[in-house]
């Protein structure tokens, strides 16, 4: 393999590597988030937060009267 080929190879790998890491990480994070939202524990926490908000609203409503 000549130096020119090596140079081109390194450039090619670097470009693909940077682009691959960037878009790959984005894709993985996005998909991981999507999967995480399906997790039963996360779903439970969401329900609990909704309930807490509703509780807050109920207090507000009670004193509005």
């Amino acid at each position: 393999m000549s130096k020119k080929q090596l140079k081109e190879g390194i450039l090619d790998t670097a470009v693909k590597g940077v682009l691959g890491l960037w878009f790959g990480s984005k894709l993985i994070d996005r998909t991981a988030k999507k999967i995480a939202m399906k997790d039963p524990e996360v779903k439970q926490k969401v329900t609990e937060l909704r309930d807490a908000i509703a509780e807050f609203d109920a207090i507000m409503a009670k004193y509005e009267k």
Binding site: G24, K26, L27, I28, D29, R30, T31, A32, K33, K34, I35, A36, M37, K38, D39, E41, V42, K43, K45, V46, E48, L49, R50, D51, A52, I53, E55, F56, D57, I59, M60, Y63
Partner: protein, 603 residues
């Protein structure tokens, strides 16, 4: 399943509750400022206590959700990265295997085309060649070069002989070590075979010996081999000489500036006695010289071609000053070009100056004739390198890859491996493509969800502002009865500001799907909060910033009504009322004592 948009909305909802809570806190502060007699303080305190508890719980649950979500995301991302690495590695491995499969196909096709074979024959030949390329040989040459040598051998022998892979490999390496082309080596081999030297080992020995002799004689080995390749067969056929003699003759001719073909034409000219004598006499008449080629003719007859050439050069003598007719006559008499004779004389002098040893040449020629050529082989072939360090590395790499491709090719023949690999490759690419599409669809749906959340935010903000306005209203009313006109004026100004803000927030926002409630919220603990669908985000100023909106505002930023001075004045006013100092409003002097006296009964 919770979606990302739902999570965003939940986040906004929590933020709005926090703002509402902060407003309630402010309201309590304001009520407290009016004194303990205010009836609503107790109720507000109770409300605040309950809200504080609910707010703490809400924040705690939000934190728990974030922690849980973050941990799960991290776990999933780690899992997916491992999968991606494995998939990437698998794809890379398959890609490499495909490269090998392609290499095998290309090698087979190249050999088939070069050797004019069919695919199966080419595969078989490649397999044989690769079988020979092991150990040191794998570093010295490669399959492509060996196939070229095989082709050169086939051409040189006119397709009349079949050569083994071992013969082709050996000849290829020998030609590289001797510094000649594989075509020259193949033609030399063919010539030697025609003159009775059928053993390849002897042929290579003779090539090495010829090189030694050429070096000893001060001539270029490559030129000697070219002469043998171009006219060796003619000369050998004419003189009926052996391969060894032919090689010696070629070196001797070159040493005197002739070519091998010149020896033949010179000999032919001399041995055509009648014509030669006539041309000799013609030259003598023209020049007045007295050349005599009888001795040269006798030497030609004896087969002493070196002696013949020397005698011819000697008889020609000094060639300077000859005219065109004289040159033509001499050329005809000697059977060679006169210019070469001039070269011959100059070369002889040069060789003498270089100290070329006649004894050394004679010794080498004797050894060749006696077949003692092992020493030459060792010196010119065995101890030489066929390739540079880089070429050796490349040869090794190519041979290893070709061998791997060969093995893969055998597997492919049995199992259609290439097709299976292609299928796996396509499946992996398909999975990756669907992942990409899914990510795009997901991004799109998130964008829509974010828009929907943005449409919700102004409503929540408006609700919070409404509460703020009602709180201000309550404070104003209470202040009116408690602190009198000064406080009422100050607080009314704040109330007007809040009311104006609410009114402006109700103005339709030119964004599709956004209800006409405006996009402004005020955080009593911080600066104003502004949500901009156009800019796509929520912005918060500092405590020193104010917000107002009207058709003439908001074009370049930095404009708008600054209510901070008014608020400062309000603070001063309240402080003055509390301290009981005499204050003046619109030219009237007021003090806390007067207004306290006016406080209605029951408050």
């Amino acid at each position: 399943m919770a979606t990302e948009s739902e999570l965003n909305i939940l986040k906004l909802q929590v933020e709005q509750r926090e703002k509402a809570f902060a407003l309630e806190e402010k309201m309590l502060e304001s009520l407290t400022l009016q004194g303990k007699r205010t009836k609503g303080i107790a109720a507000q305190r109770k409300k605040m206590a309950e809200l504080q508890k609910a707010n703490n719980k809400m924040k705690s649950k939000q934190l728990e959700l974030e922690v849980s979500m973050s941990a799960e995301m991290e776990r999933q991302a780690k899992k997916m990265k491992t999968q991606a690495m494995l998939l990437g590695g698998l794809q890379k491995a398959i890609s490499k295997i495909q490269d090998l499969s392609k290499r095998f196909s290309e090698n087979t096709r190249a050999t088939a085309n070069t050797m004019h074979l069919n695919v199966n024959e080419a595969k078989k030949l490649n397999k044989e060649i690769l079988g020979q390329l092991k150990g040191e040989k794998a570093l010295q040459t490669n399959m492509k070069d060996v196939v070229a040598t095989q082709s050169a051998l086939s051409d040189a022998y006119g397709g009349s002989m079949k050569f083994t892979a071992e013969q082709a490999v050996n000849l290829d390496i020998a030609s590289k070590k001797l510094g000649i082309s594989n075509t020259q080596a193949a033609q030399f081999s063919s010539l030697m075979f025609a003159t009775g030297e059928s053993s390849q080992e002897v042929q290579i020995q003779l090539m090495a010996a010829t090189k030694t002799l050429a070096k000893a004689s001060g001539v270029k080995f490559d030129a000697v081999m070219s002469d043998i390749a171009s006219s060796g067969k003619d000369v050998a056929g004419y003189f009926g000489t052996s391969g060894k003699e032919l090689a010696i003759m070629a070196v001797q001719a070159r040493k005197m500036g002739f070519e091998l073909a010149d020896v033949k034409s010179m000999s032919e000219g001399l041995l055509d006695v009648e014509n030669r004598i006539e041309k000799q006499m013609k030259f003598n008449l023209l020049t007045g010289k007295n050349i005599n080629l009888d001795k040269a003719t006798a030497l030609a007859l004896e087969g002493d071609h070196a002696g013949m050439m020397k005698e011819v050069v000697k008889q020609a003598g000094n060639l300077d000053g000859l005219n065109q007719l004289e040159i033509k006559a001499l050329n005809e008499a000697l059977g060679v070009d006169i210019m070469k004779l001039k070269n011959a004389e100059a070369l002889r002098e040069q060789k003498e100056a270089q100290g070329i040893s006649a004894a050394s040449i004679a010794e080498t020629e004797k050894m060749i004739r006696d077949g003692q050529m092992d020493e030459f082989l060792a010196k010119e072939v065995d101890r030489q390198l066929a390739a540079t360090a880089e070429e050796r590395r490349e040869n090794f790499e190519n041979n290893m890859l070709d061998k791997a491709a060969q093995q893969l090719g055998n597997m492919d023949e049995a199992n259609n491996l290439a097709l299976i690999l292609q299928g796996i490759q396509m499946a992996i690419q398909g999975i990756m493509m669907f992942q990409g599409i899914a990510a795009m669809v997901k991004a799109r749906s998130e964008q829509q969800a974010a828009r929907a959340a943005a449409a919700q935010t102004p409503k929540l903000a408006a609700e919070a502002s409404l509460r703020a306005a009602s709180a201000v209203s309550a404070i104003t009313t209470n202040s009116a009865v408690t602190f009198g006109v000064g406080a009422v004026i100050a607080l009314a100004a704040a109330g007007i500001g809040a009311a104006a803000m609410y009114a402006l927030m109700s103005k339709p926002v030119p964004t599709p799907k956004v209800t006409p409630s405006g996009d402004v919220g005020i955080d009593p603990n911080g600066g104003p909060v502004v949500m901009s669908p156009k800019e796509g985000g929520i912005f918060q100023g500092t405590k020193n910033d104010g917000v107002s909106m009207s058709p003439s505002h908001g074009t370049k930023g930095g404009g708008g009504m600054n209510i901070q001075p008014l608020i400062r004045k309000m603070d001063e006013l309240i402080s003055a009322v509390k301290s009981g100092r005499v204050i003046s409003v619109d030219g009237y002097q007021l003090n806390e004592a007067i207004h306290l006296e006016k406080t209605p009964a029951g408050v």
